[in-house]
C-alpha cells in the first residue's frame, strides 16, 4: 500500500468518534469560503450590510422626525434607537438565510460543489459545520459593521449593547441551521421562494417598526412565537439595557433551533450523498 500524505492524514483519524461522517476539517470549507469571498461574495455581504443602514436612515431619521420619541418598556427613546436593534436582528437573519438557502442550494444542486467535497476524505458533518460556520462569520461581520455605524450615533444607550454582536451570531446560527436543513429537502429553485414569502412579512410585522401592542392579543401571541420576533426582542433588550429573564427565553429559543437544524442537516446530507 502506498502511503501518500492524504492517506496518512485520513488514517490518523481512524478509530475516532464519528469518523465516518467527520474528518475534523471543517476549516477547509471555511478556507474555500474565504477564497470565494475575496473574489465575489464580498459584494453580496456588502449589500447585506448596506441594507439595514439605509432602512435606519430612511425610517429612523426620516420617519423618526415625525414620530419623535417612543416609549419602550417605560423608557423614552428616539425612534431610530427603537428600530436599530430590529434592523440588526433582521440583517443577521437575512444573511444567514441567504447563505443557508440560495447559496447552499446552488452548491448542492447546481454547481455540485458538495459532490466534489465529499469525493475527498471529508465527511458530511465537516461540510455542514463549515457552511454554518461561514454563516456565523457573516452574522458577526454584520453585527460589528452595524454597531460601528449606530453606536457613534448614540443609538445604543446601554453598555449591554455590546452583547448585541454575539446575539447576532446566535441568531445567524439558529436561522442558518434551520435554513440549511430546509434546503436539503428542497426539490426545485422555485421552492426556495417560499422562504422569501415568509421572511418579508416577518420583517415588517415582528415589532421592527412599532411595538406589538398595536395588534390584537391573539395576533401578538402568534408573532411572538416566530423566530424574528424572538431575535428582535433579544437584541433590543440588550441595546436598551432592559435585561430580564425573558432574554434567556429568547436565547433558549435559538439554541433549540440550532439543535433541530443541525440534527436534520447532518441526517439529510448523509442520505443525499451516501445513498
Amino acid at each position: 500500500m502506498i502511503i501518500s500524505a492524504a492517506v496518512a492524514i485520513a488514517e490518523a483519524r481512524r478509530g475516532r468518534l464519528g469518523e465516518r461522517v467527520y474528518s475534523g476539517r471543517s476549516r477547509a470549507i471555511f478556507e474555500r469560503g474565504y477564497i470565494a469571498f475575496k473574489s465575489s461574495t464580498w459584494m453580496v455581504i456588502l449589500s447585506g450590510f448596506v441594507e439595514p443602514v439605509l432602512y435606519l436612515f430612511a425610517f429612523g431619521y426620516g420617519l423618526g422626525e415625525l414620530i419623535g420619541n417612543i416609549e419602550s418598556n417605560g423608557l423614552s427613546i428616539p425612534y431610530a434607537a427603537y428600530i436599530a436593534p430590529a434592523l440588526l436582528a433582521t440583517s443577521a437573519m437575512n444573511g444567514a438565510i441567504y447563505d443557508s438557502t440560495f447559496n447552499i442550494y446552488f452548491k448542492l444542486k447546481h454547481d455540485r460543489i458538495y459532490h466534489g467535497m465529499l469525493a475527498t476524505s471529508l465527511g458530511p458533518l465537516d461540510v455542514a459545520l463549515g457552511e454554518i460556520g461561514l454563516a456565523l462569520v457573516r452574522g458577526f461581520l454584520y453585527g460589528v459593521g452595524f454597531m460601528a455605524v449606530v453606536a457613534p450615533l448614540g443609538l445604543i444607550p446601554s453598555l449591554w449593547g455590546i452583547l448585541a454582536i454575539p446575539a447576532a451570531v446566535l441568531i445567524a446560527f439558529g436561522f442558518a441551521a434551520v435554513g440549511m436543513a430546509l434546503t436539503t429537502y428542497m426539490k426545485s429553485f422555485q421552492q426556495l421562494e417560499i422562504i422569501n414569502i415568509f421572511l418579508l412579512p416577518m420583517f415588517l410585522f415582528s415589532g421592527s417598526f412599532y411595538p406589538l401592542s398595536v395588534f390584537p392579543e391573539w395576533l401578538q401571541f402568534i408573532i411572538k412565537a416566530l423566530p424574528l420576533s424572538q431575535a428582535i426582542h433579544l437584541v433590543r433588550g440588550l441595546t436598551l439595557g432592559q435585561i430580564n429573564i425573558g432574554l434567556l427565553g429568547h436565547i433558549s429559543y435559538f439554541i433549540v433551533m440550532i439543535i433541530i437544524g443541525l440534527f436534520f442537516t447532518t441526517k439529510r446530507l448523509n442520505a443525499l450523498f451516501v445513498k
Binding site: 492524504a6 465516518r20 459532490h115 451516501v274
Partner: protein, 308 residues
C-alpha cells in the same frame, strides 16, 4: 499476481425495486487500466460510486486495498482520485484555486500544494490559464482540470466516469494521451465508458455491462476474438430493402446482424464475402469492410448497440 486492489463479489445495488447493479464480480489489479463498458443505464456509474465510498451497496462484498469502503469511507477516499461524469469544479474559484482547495479538503499542507499545483498545471496543460475563472474554460480544459484535481492527493487509484463524453475528437485525444502518461506512472485506472474506441484505447482489461449485469470479461483483443469474427462487412441496401435482403444473405457468413440502417455480416475475410455477394447478383448501395470492435462484441452479447 499480487492481491488485487479492488475485489467485488456479488456486488448488488437496488434503488427500491430497481436493480441497478446485479450481483457482479470483478477484480482490479495494481497498475492496470480496468474498464466498465456498457450503454447508459448499465449500472457503471453506480458501481463507480460504490467503489468511491459515496454510495452504499445493498448486498455483496467489496474490498479496496483490503478494506471495506462502507466502514472507512474517508480513509478509502484518501486513496482515490475521482473524476465524475458531470464536472463539479468550483465555479467561484480560479483554475489554480480549484486545485489548491481540493488539496485542502484532503488536509494537505500549503507547502506541499504549492509545488503540487505547478506539477498538475503542467500535466493538464493549463499553465497559461492558472488565474482564469473555471467558467471561461473549454469543455476539454475543464475535464483536464477535473482530472488534475483528482490527482492532487497522489491517489493510487484514479476513477474516471465517462471521461471524454461531450468532448470533440481533438480534445479526446489530448485527454487519452494524459491518461496514458498516468498509466505509465503506475496509477491504477478505473474507467467507465460507452465508447468502444475509448475502451480499446485505454483499457487493459474490461467488463461489458448491461442492465446491471456483467456480460463478459477480458482484454479488448480477447473479447473480440471470443465474441466476434476478425472482420465485419457493413452493407446498405436502403432502409426499405435491408430487411428483405438480410434474409437472402443469411447462410453466406458466420453471423448476421440487422440494424435499422445497415446490415452487419461477420466473417474472417470481409473482402471475399463481398465478392461472394456481388457474384450472387446482389448490389448493395454502400459497402465497408472493417475489423471487429467492441461494439460488435456488445451487439453479440446484448442484441443492441452501445450508443442508441
Amino acid at each position: 499476481m499480487s492481491s488485487p486492489l479492488i475485489t467485488a463479489r456479488g456486488l448488488t445495488k437496488k434503488f427500491d425495486e430497481f436493480v441497478a447493479v446485479d450481483e457482479i464480480n470483478f477484480d482490479v489489479a495494481r497498475g492496470e487500466s480496468f474498464g466498465l463498458l456498457g450503454p447508459n443505464g448499465a449500472g457503471k456509474s453506480t458501481t463507480m460510486r460504490i467503489i468511491g465510498a459515496t454510495s452504499q451497496r445493498t448486498s455483496g462484498d467489496l474490498t479496496i486495498l483490503g478494506i471495506d469502503p462502507e466502514k472507512f469511507g474517508p480513509q478509502i477516499r484518501a486513496h482515490l482520485g475521482v473524476v465524475p461524469q458531470q464536472d463539479n469544479l468550483d465555479m467561484n474559484l480560479s483554475v489554480s484555486e480549484n486545485l489548491y482547495i481540493y488539496g485542502r479538503y484532503f488536509g494537505l499542507s500549503r507547502k506541499f500544494l504549492k509545488t503540487k499545483i505547478e506539477e498538475l498545471l503542467e500535466f493538464a496543460q493549463l499553465e497559461e490559464k492558472r488565474n482564469a475563472k473555471v467558467e471561461s474554460l473549454s469543455g476539454g480544459m475543464k475535464r483536464r482540470l477535473t482530472i488534475a484535481r483528482g490527482l492532487v492527493s497522489e491517489p493510487e487509484i484514479l476513477m474516471l466516469d465517462e471521461p471524454t463524453t461531450g468532448l470533440d475528437p481533438q480534445a479526446r485525444h489530448i485527454l487519452w494521451d494524459r491518461l496514458f502518461r498516468l498509466k505509465e506512472q503506475g496509477v491504477t485506472l478505473v474507467i467507465t465508458t460507452h465508447f468502444m474506441d475509448e475502451a480499446e484505447q485505454l483499457c487493459d482489461r474490461l467488463v461489458v455491462m448491461d442492465k446491471g449485469k456483467i456480460m463478459a470479461e477480458g482484454s479488448p483483443v480477447q473479447l473480440i476474438k471470443d465474441y466476434s469474427t476478425k472482420e465485419v462487412l457493413e452493407i446498405r441496401f436502403g432502409s426499405e430493402r435491408n430487411s428483405e435482403m438480410a434474409d437472402q444473405l443469411r447462410g453466406m457468413c458466420d453471423r448476421i446482424e440487422e440494424l435499422p440502417d445497415r446490415i452487419l455480416l461477420y466473417s474472417e475475410d470481409g473482402e471475399a464475402l463481398l465478392e461472394k455477394i456481388y457474384s450472387a447478383g446482389l448490389h448493395p448501395k454502400t459497402s465497408l469492410v472493417r475489423r471487429s470492435s467492441l461494439e460488435d462484441v456488445f451487439l453479440r452479447l446484448t442484441g443492441r448497440t452501445l450508443v442508441d
